[in-house]
């Protein structure tokens, strides 16, 4: 009984995260300027990380944690790199 209720709860949480992913994707496609797109990409990988952790909760394994950690690492590096590019690309031109 509690397992089924928990399953529905986790499914609803995954659906909410999927909606959040679509919203970020809309902002990524639509974003008026480059910095909006970069920020939407940042929010997108953060929501992807959350849904991977949620999948780890659902399956009850530890395997997905490492994937989430890798996404957190590479996401930070990529966002900082693109932010630096946005700043310097205008200076050097």
């Amino acid at each position: 009984m509690s397992q089924a209720a928990l399953g529905y709860c986790l499914a609803a949480a995954q659906a909410l995260l999927a909606v959040a992913l679509f919203m970020c994707a809309y902002r990524l496609i639509r974003g008026p300027r480059a910095q909006d797109r970069v920020m939407a990409l940042d929010a997108l990988y953060m929501n992807g990380l959350l849904s991977i952790v949620m999948l780890g909760i659902r399956t009850g394994t530890q395997l997905y944690f490492e994937a989430a950690l890798v996404i957190a690492l590479t996401g930070f590096v990529s966002t900082s790199a693109v932010a630096k590019f946005l700043m310097r690309g205008e200076v050097i031109e």
């Binding site: 509690s2 397992q3 089924a4 209720a5 928990l6 399953g7 529905y8 709860c9 986790l10 499914a11 609803a12 949480a13 995954q14 909410l16 995260l17 909606v19 959040a20 992913l21 919203m23 970020c24 809309y26 902002r27 300027r33 480059a34 910095q35 909006d36 970069v38 920020m39 939407a40 940042d42 929010a43 953060m46 929501n47 990380l49 959350l50 952790v53 949620m54 780890g56 909760i57 659902r58 399956t59 009850g60 530890q62 944690f65 989430a68 950690l69 957190a72 690492l73 930070f76 966002t79 900082s80 932010a83 630096k84 946005l86 700043m87 205008e90």
Partner: protein, 154 residues
């Protein structure tokens, strides 16, 4: 049969509430990203996703794996720690890049306006000089100027 870990009822309640709350906060953050007007407003909502949403979902994961493993499993704190440490840095970099871009764009616009004003002034001066030259030519033609003096004899 839905896919879910086999937890005792209390732990299931805690995990369900934390996971649903975290996902709700994450969706609200994405909605804010969608709805805010300017870039500087839109910087704020994703941090909500990354702080409170991630905290709630990581706690749910910690509770799940601790109850399933019958021992404290807290490595999700690593995820939370790392993201909370790095997200302000990347957001600050991005906001500074945006400020720089906006300022340089405004500077370019003002320089372009200045150049346009200078070009207009120059064009006005050129038009006045041409008008004056045309008036002089008309006077020479109509009133009989001294062509020999003007263009050289013979």
């Amino acid at each position: 049969m839905t896919l879910a870990p086999d937890l005792p009822p209390v732990a299931a309640l805690v995990v369900g509430v934390l996971a649903l709350g975290g996902a709700l906060v994450a969706m609200l953050g994405a909605m804010g990203l969608l709805r805010m007007r300017t870039f500087y407003d839109r910087v704020h909502p994703p941090t909500m996703t990354a702080s409170m949403g991630l905290a709630a979902i990581a706690l749910a994961s910690i509770v799940t794996s601790s109850v399933l493993g019958s021992r404290p499993v807290v490595h999700e704190f690593l995820l939370l720690f790392f993201v909370v440490l790095t997200l302000p840095v990347s957001m600050m970099l991005l906001a500074r890049a945006a400020i720089f871009r906006d300022r340089s764009e405004a500077y370019d616009a003002s320089m372009a306006a200045e150049a346009r004003a200078a070009a207009e002034e120059e064009a006005a001066a050129l038009a006045a000089a041409q008008e004056e030259a045309a008036a002089l030519a008309y006077r020479d033609r109509e009133l009989g100027g001294d062509d020999d003096a003007a263009y050289g004899a013979g």
